[in-house]
Symmetry: C2
Subunit: 347 residues, 2 copies
DNA sequence: CTGTTAGCGCCTTCAT
DNA sequence: ATGAAGGCGCTAACAG
């Protein structure tokens, strides 16, 4: 394994001084056109690759931003991460990644590691409360907000889920159940708030006193959790179910198939998120799609601002998502009697 | 923004010398039990976090490995990446990530960047031929192999796809079409080879001279590509279709739904990969599932070996995957007449 | 315009 | 067991 060629090697080969070579390569200082070409040529020939670790130490910055997510496997995070990375790369930054598995201790550990590596900034999907001593590094939170005093970029779930719920109500369903994740996450709270707001303002209550009933089932965010939650609903099934994350949708679908429940024939469904298969499952899954790509881009931009010393107001940026109407929960249909085990269930 | 506290600060606070503090923290040299506790305490109080950039420069290693993948959005890569990261973290390494979008120039650029950052090793999903001058860094290829003289860890697609094809043949279908990706990728070539081997050895040919016909449609690896490929088959549909990547499956399903083709009623299907929705789509999608997690783990282990100076034979490690039999292509059924637009298409 | 030099923060000999 | 000092490769400030 041949050791790396360094700046002095290039300088010697080009027959110029140490500093001159540096300036020629970086293009930052004055350097004779003659010397410049000789240096560039020598660097090319020797296959010179500047040592980023040395540069980082000297310059006090790494041109690296840290990304901390619960799970690389989750389309929900990677969709944001992909464009985040694009924006950052354009600005000359690269990505250092850590996952937490949603464990608070691994989360703090990741934060420490990033700080130790002197990343220029961090994009953080927080899990649990922030660590005691704040880091001397710009941070922007993504997707969830921890209450810490840093900017956060999230989907406008209260509005989106509220619309989704209104859609179900407008379609005539009078017994609706939502399945949500743990309340420790801001995402769960936001989605729940959207659901409740729409239900309550339409005259629904939890006891069916008005003849319009809503229910909430808590679960973790996994497919298994969704399957369990759906199973718990089996004794007294609602007319429509709203699993408020794509993994919860998956779980619900699993249980429905096991129990022989046809969707939307026996049970209407509206979900959250929009992994590519939602479109081709059965008659298509009606859903609220958060603006994952845009969130990634915004997070990157805000972080770059922070890195460049600008101080955007530290607050929660809610970006609106989009309702996607498909077959598992159709639009309000005058004269339609829902709850009656329906129509053609699709091919 | 308070600047970082450094070793001298800790040393001064603890009332000891510079080097003593260093030894106490790293635990590597001899140091008086008395001084040790004072240093540790001081470090804790000051919130000392060693500077990884300085350490990297000094020690000549970064405890970082680079991961180069086409696309963070693809479950296919992230499933491997997740466990790769786990194994590496256990060994004290962290992950630096770059994506290529399958562009050869971005691929080489990523390689350069990693080298510049002096990562200790690279896990590489290659796109196109390797760059001219080899890097002085251990590399393991993942999922695809480029022909370079480095170890590669891949799924045993020839065997797996061959079995998958035999399954279709055993089920009695006599007109089978495979959809594969660009031949520049080893994955496409391997899967194609598996398909052809099984078809040929069962007496199939491309002209239906024997009454048993196989076809191959080339495509890119995208859902759109799969949709187009399926559309091209519509004039003269096969009895069974084998889209040999999960995104191709998605595209095929899209076209099938548009064209009103029922699966498996009108057309049997067996896929590749096993994203979580395969299980709950229609009657379940029969598929060959490559051992993504195991591949990630093996790649990590081999790379760690390389980093530690061991020299495993540079070769292609093919890890066997698993056939998952579900409803879109059922097991051979004596007395079953396929191609006759079938049975109950399931819910 | 160019060569020289002082650190960036740390680990590691080398004396003591 | 401890303190002092060199140097990892680089950039920037300074002197010529």
């Amino acid at each position: 394994m041949d050791s790396m060629v360094k700046l002095t090697d290039v300088a010697r080969a080009a027959g110029v001084g140490y500093g001159t070579a540096s300036r020629a390569l970086s293009g930052k200082g004055p350097v004779g056109g003659d010397a410049r070409t000789r240096v560039l040529e020598a660097a090319r020939q020797l296959g010179y690759t500047g040592d980023a670790t040395a540069r980082a130490l000297r310059e006090g910055r790494t041109r690296t931003v840290g990304l901390i997510v619960p799970d690389m496997t989750n389309e929900f995070y990677t969709s944001s991460a992909e464009v985040l990375q694009d924006v950052l790369r354009t600005a000359g930054h690269h990505l250092f990644v850590a996952t937490t598995g949603n464990h608070p201790d691994r989360d703090h550990e990741a934060l420490r590691e990033m700080a130790a590596r002197r990343v220029d900034g961090i994009v953080h999907v927080p899990v649990g409360p922030p660590p005691a001593n704040p880091l001397p590094v710009p941070i922007v939170e993504l997707n969830r907000y921890s209450g810490r005093n840093v900017p956060a970029v999230v989907s406008d779930d209260p509005a989106g889920v509220s619309e989704l719920t209104e859609l179900a109500i407008g379609a005539g369903y009078t017994d609706i159940a939502a399945i949500v994740g743990p309340e420790v996450y801001s995402t769960s709270r936001d989605r729940l708030a959207g659901f409740k707001a729409a239900a309550l303002s339409a005259g629904f209550d939890e006891n069916a006193a008005t003849g319009k009933r809503f229910r909430v089932v808590f679960s973790d965010f996994s497919a298994d959790g969704g399957a369990r939650a759906m199973r718990s609903l089996l004794d007294d099934p609602p007319q429509a179910v709203l699993p408020l994350s794509s993994r919860l949708v998956l779980g619900v679908l699993r249980t429905a198939r096991e129990a022989g429940i046809s969707i939307p024939g026996d049970l209407a469904l509206a979900g959250y998120g929009d992994p590519d298969w939602f479109e081709i499952w059965g008659p298509g899954i009606t859903t609220f799609a958060p603006p994952l790509a845009e969130m990634g881009a915004r997070a990157a931009e805000i972080l770059l601002d922070l890195i460049n010393g600008n101080h955007p107001a530290a607050s929660v940026h809610r970006i609106p998502g989009e309702l996607r109407l498909r077959g598992t929960l159709a639009q309000a249909d005058p004269g339609h009697k829902p709850g009656q085990a329906a129509s053609a269930s699709g091919r």
